[in-house]
């Protein structure tokens, strides 16, 4: 490449260079996509909302041992959280449902708002 190339030479140089970057990264994207297919988990069916599960949830219909433990653990955690908020006031937990996306969103909002962007 000369120090002072002609305009045609420059255009050719630019087109080749840009095409080079695009093709290389396009190929890299295709390879990454292919590798990703091997790692992608099949999408899990959405869990059904937990119907009014009185706490403790032991009275529910027979469930596999692991699910039973999860339900008991959830009940314990929720009971502890409620106690932490309202203290010793009398209360009864009637049902536990998965929250909407609001909590996750609130968490994200707090994280992002903690960054100061000029």
């Amino acid at each position: 490449m000369p120090a002072h190339p002609t305009m045609a030479h420059n255009i050719k140089f630019i087109v080749f260079g840009f095409a080079f970057v695009i093709i290389v990264l396009l190929t890299l994207a295709a390879i990454t996509q292919l590798v990703g297919l091997a790692f992608k988990q099949p999408e899990k069916p959405k869990p059904a909302p937990v119907a009014k599960a009185p706490a403790p949830a032991a009275e529910a219909a027979p469930v596999p041992a692991e699910d039973e433990m999860d339900s008991a653990l959830t009940a314990v955690i929720v009971a502890a959280a409620v106690h932490a908020v309202i203290g010793d006031q009398p209360h009864r937990i009637l049902s536990i449902r998965p929250s909407q996306s609001g909590w996750a969103q609130e968490g994200r909002r707090q994280i992002f708002s903690s960054h100061s962007v000029r």
Partner: protein
């Protein structure tokens, strides 16, 4: 000793107007860095280095004496050094041209007249003029001038293709190997200079830039700090990073069209559009070392100004509806997949662009250290101690090249202007590519993440996030924008590799 002699021993005698102007430039840079927090980690060392460059320092930047080699095969047209002669370098480094391609007949005569004057005072630093055997590669119009032979009534014909060999260090000439009329080979010793000092602090520290060590080491730290997960989860964002590199090539065209720069200088300026400081320095050092200071200052200043430069372009090129597009959540990427990605990128990119190996290799080594999970100590060292130490040395080494006669030129202003153009075009290219992809894709991309294709990690991604939230406060684009952001780093390194391959050995 009288008062005049005492005054001449101080640095005041060596001050000139360019230094004073550069002090103002340093003050502006320090103000931006300290009070406006514009990339302070880089701008503070650069600005302080620039201050040192514009003071009559001693034992800071001077090179050690030794052999002076011929850079080219050719015939010695003029030889001004003699055995026993004393060489005294000026208190502040002056930029001297190794070629006269940009000089007119009058310019050549002036240069030699100036050197003739210094010769009379025993302070000349021009040692040899060598006419290359092979025809010039410069492409510039041939110019010949009758210049004064130093300290003589005779004249010598100087062509603008001739190589000028300047003294690099103070000392005394212990041996002059060639004289006028001799034929020399490339690399042949011309003269040996002796002195009992061995070079200044920054001569050695700057070797990290000259030998292209610091930019790859910075990339090692960048790799250790970067999570490629969002890019792996959504590989098509690599295209956004690729599209943003159009800014690099468009700026090359602007620089070469200005007529002020050669093609390799234009390439070094164009890379500013990649918004990647280490890559800009890496390429500038390889292709246009004399322009490294303004290129580095432009690259880092504009990276700091990303939140100012990008938003108006982003709003102008997108509709409210497009800015509200919500993107599908990214899947979780496991450790093994990240490790495989690092290896694939290393192998593939080095195979296609071997000239970018130091950058790509170190970037992905740093990332592998981060992701493999068994080298936490090394990963932390790369993320903290190593990158911090190298940043101090890199910044000051770049700053110390900002001498007044090198920086206060029309070319510098042009480079600063081209830098803004480069950033703007790169931003627009990424946005437009995202819009183009939306025409063919079922899963829509929020075009705001396209602007993050300029590297500037993670600033550009944060700007996408902020602009996205202005349109829809519950839309979170940060992780999506990190994909094109890190793709931009790889894209800029590839563009640099392309330039280096084309201009190798210019």
């Amino acid at each position: 000793m009288d008062f005049t002699e005492l005054f001449e021993l101080t640095g005041f005698a060596a001050l000139n107007w360019q230094m004073l102007v550069m002090w103002v430039v340093v003050a502006v840079l320090l103000y931006l860095a300290v009070f406006k927090e514009f990339e302070p980690l880089l701008l503070v060392p650069i600005a302080f280095g620039a201050l040192l460059a514009n003071l009559p320092t001693k034992n800071m930047v001077n090179a050690p004496p030794g052999e002076i080699l011929s850079p080219v095969a050719g015939v010695v047209v003029a030889a001004y050094g003699e055995t026993g002669q004393t060489i005294e370098m000026p208190a502040t480094e002056r930029q001297r041209p190794s070629h006269l391609t940009k000089y007119s007949v009058e310019g050549i005569k002036e240069l030699f007249a100036e050197e003739n004057l210094l010769y009379g005072e025993g302070r000349q630093t021009l040692l040899y003029v060598i006419r290359p055997t092979n025809a010039s590669h410069s492409g510039a119009e041939p110019v010949s001038a009758q210049a004064a032979w130093l300290d003589s009534e005779e004249t010598v014909t100087i062509n603008n293709d001739d190589y000028l060999i300047w003294a690099k260090a103070s000392g005394s000439v212990s041996q002059a190997f060639v004289s006028a009329g001799d034929t020399v080979a490339a690399g042949q010793p011309l003269m040996r200079v002796y002195a009992d000092h061995s070079g200044g602090l920054f001569h050695y520290i700057s070797l990290g830039v000259v030998l292209e060590l610091f930019p790859p080491l910075i990339f090692l730290g960048v790799g250790a700090l970067t999570d490629f997960g969002p890019l792996i989860a959504n590989p098509r964002t690599l295209l956004l990073g690729a599209a943003a590199q159009f800014g690099v090539f468009a700026t090359y065209l602007g620089a070469i069209s200005s007529g002020l720069f050669t093609s390799y200088e234009a390439a070094a300026i164009g890379i500013i559009g990649g918004a990647d400081g280490p890559t800009s320095i890496f390429l500038a050092n390889a292709l246009a070392p004399d322009l490294m200071a303004p290129i580095a200052v432009a690259a880092y200043s504009y990276m700091a100004l990303v939140p100012v430069i990008q938003p108006p372009i982003m709003r102008a090129l997108t509709t409210e509806k497009e800015r509200k597009i919500r993107m599908k959540s990214l899947r979780k990427v496991g450790r093994l997949e990240k490790l495989i990605f690092a290896l694939i990128v290393t192998i593939f990119c080095i195979l296609v662009a071997p000239d970018a190996s130091p950058l790509i290799g170190m970037l992905l080594l740093g990332n592998f250290l981060r992701e493999c999970g068994v080298t936490q100590r090394l990963s932390k060292a790369a993320q903290n101690e190593l990158i911090n130490i190298v940043t101090i040395f890199l910044g000051t080494s770049v700053g110390i090249t900002m001498t007044g006669d090198r920086f206060l030129k029309a070319e510098t202003l042009m480079i600063l202007a081209l830098g803004v153009v480069a950033f703007s075009i790169a931003t627009a290219s990424g946005l437009l590519m995202a819009k183009l992809m939306n025409l063919f894709s079922k899963n829509k991309i929020n075009p705001l993440i396209g602007s993050a294709g300029v590297s500037a990690v993670p600033m550009a991604a944060r700007v996408s996030q902020v602009e996205g939230q202005k349109a829809d406060s519950s839309n979170f684009l940060l992780m999506h924008a990190m994909g094109p952001n890190v793709a931009g780093v790889i894209g800029t390194a590839l563009a640099a590799g392309y330039f280096m391959a084309i201009f190798a050995g210019h």
